[in-house]
């Protein structure tokens, strides 16, 4: 857990950690009123709060409902801050195109991963469910994407991940990208087997993995 959150806007950190959207936006308003830098709010309060939410989730202290309400508080605060960040020319930590693979409609895990990645400072292009390999390719081509992230919950749709990776290769876009996969039936072994760059066990590690993928 983060011990050293500066006292100044700790109410923002607390509001995100506790999933209180109203308190989070109020804290953002107050901070902006006081001329605090939006980047500082994101980097020193909000991202650490989501990191701690992720840690609590990993430790099983938080579960899906808690994670979702924290993510909502984060999103509410971010919506307020985003225009200011954009105006100040601030860059996201990376851009991730995320989707549930072809044939599969399970999206709750994927939505949590999206929320955590956004909470961790990434820009997320959510491609939805039943995503065709071509859609991943088109997105990789059209937007400067750092990571392609795929989720699957059915053992029968796991092969779609392999098909997608092969399609990305065939389209000649694989090299500039990192590929991360996850979902309940996925293992590291499977990720290695199909040539993915990383496997995320849960929505929280997905963020630390994404960070290391863009750093490498």
């Amino acid at each position: 857990m983060n011990q050293n959150i500066p006292e100044k806007w700790k109410s923002l950190y607390d509001a995100v950690l506790e999933g209180n959207a109203a308190a989070a936006t109020a804290a953002v308003d107050a901070a902006i009123e006081a001329n605090e830098s939006p980047q500082t709010l994101v980097d020193e309060y909000m991202i650490p709060a989501m990191d701690d939410v992720g840690e609590k989730f990993e430790q099983n202290e938080y579960f899906v409902p808690e994670l979702l309400i924290s993510a909502r508080a984060m999103k509410a605060a971010l919506t307020k801050i985003q225009p200011l960040l954009t105006a100040s020319g601030s860059q996201p930590k990376g851009r991730v195109a995320l989707g549930t693979v072809k044939g599969d409609l399970h999206d709750i895990g994927k939505n949590l991963v999206a929320a955590m990645l956004e909470g961790g400072g990434f820009e997320v292009i959510d491609l939805g469910v039943d995503v065709d390999p071509d859609k991943f390719i088109d997105t990789a081509r059209a937007s400067k994407v750092d990571i392609i992230a795929m989720s699957a919950l059915l053992t029968t749709t796991m092969p779609s991940m392999k098909t997608t990776i092969e399609a990305l290769k065939a389209a000649g876009v694989r090299d500039g990208l990192k590929i991360m996969i996850g979902g309940a039936p996925i293992t590291q072994e499977f990720a290695d087997e199909i040539g993915a760059d990383a496997y995320g066990d849960n929505a929280s590690t997905a963020v630390s993995i994404a960070r290391s993928l863009v750093a490498s």
């Binding site: 899906v64 409902p65 059915l154």
Partner: protein, 511 residues
Amino acid sequence: MPSKPAQIHLHPVAKTVAAAPGTPLADVLFPEGVEFPCGGRGRCRGCRVRVLAGTMEPGEAEQRLLSEKEIADGWRLACRHQVEGNVSLAIAQWESPILADNSTYAFERVEGLGVAVDIGTTTVVAQLVDLRNGSVLAVRAELNRQARHGSDLMSRIGASVTDAGGSALTGAIRRQVARMIGELMRAVVERDLPPVRGVVLVGNTAMHHLFGGLDAEPLSRYPFEPERSDALRWTASELRWTGLPEACPVTFLPCIGGFVGSDVLAGLLAVGFDHRTSPAAFLDLGTNGEIVAGNGDRILCASTAAGPAFEGARISMGMRAATGAITAVHQLNGKWECRVLGGGEARGICGSGLVSAVATGLDLGTILASGRLARGDTWMIQEPVSLHQCDVRELQLAKGAVAAGIELLLSALEIPCSEIETAFLAGAFGNYVSLESALRIGLFPFAGERVTPAGNTALLGAKIALHAPDPVALCNAFRKRITHVSLHADPDFQEAYVSAMRFPDPARVGA
């Protein structure tokens, strides 16, 4: 030169099996009752066995799924090994009580005998019935032999589309049913019985496809539209089933839609859903939860994926309802007491025990409404069986999916749950789970006095169909009135699901 067969000693069943080196251990152990929940792909811990003598080197899957202590104690995953040399293995013996049906039912007297078979993903139950008086002459119940290729239906479908899996699965179940019918016939001592005039089979859509030898690939991915959902018909001679009159019709009843099969259709017939005019619901909870709700004019059905928690799988110390399983945890003066099947030492906890333990934990305050264990990450319920935080989470995933499915189906039907007059609970879990505990954890929103455990309704419905002049016509007329709803297409699912993951406050239980 074929090498000398190795001897595999099995404890505690005191049996020795010989097998050629290189044979997958799974092939040797499956016939002995060891199960392979993930289909033998090293993704679960279900097939663990303990090496008592001899060596089996632990591999990657064992490092991942077993603790250091377990590995040191000799635990291995059977699916990851081949026969090498002589070994002694301890295997857990499953003796799951499989639910058959002994209920009396209204019937039309028909000359002849009939065979009703309920092909469940997990179990297969067959009954030989005297159609002149509705009496059951013999019963056979076994685990589904296809389980060698995975315990849940998706693994089964996955196995059927790869390699020569499809024909292997079809062959396995057809042989099993044929053998069971043979045993039923031999079990009857009475002479001068009339011949068998029909065999009726029921099961979910995947079982329908796999028994019928149909291509199950369309069931493996969105939009999950079965190749065929109508009745499948053969004669005994076409299936090369001996012991039955050659022309004896063998009929797999039609599916309702999606994954919802003739087991549910038959179940609805069994509880008289086709004649009801007032609002009622029907639930069959297993790895998949089937939900039906109707108000007389309209009947909707859906299948919601629950996961294996209700069957005690994917729970740290989970097991089937066999000897040594904790089946209930009762509150006793601020403490608690466990009921262990067979009365001996506790070995694990089964699905109904898990629901009961969590319900009691909520009452005692050892589990909070959020599902968080109040003190630490484990709750020792009875040495050596403890409940872990992740087990409660697994139950929350399962019960939330059922509760959300019911909520969405009732709202599509525009019936508040307070208006449901009767909710029938079909299947083994529904029969064994304590109603009070199920209500306490918020598994369904109905008032307790309106919930009726209904037993193995699939089998009963199959028997009712055997009495009908034309079982298929009976089913087809009824199934036209039922609409299948796909929950995965419902945008409100996530919201409903996430709020249903919490446990209700005590004041609201059963309200």
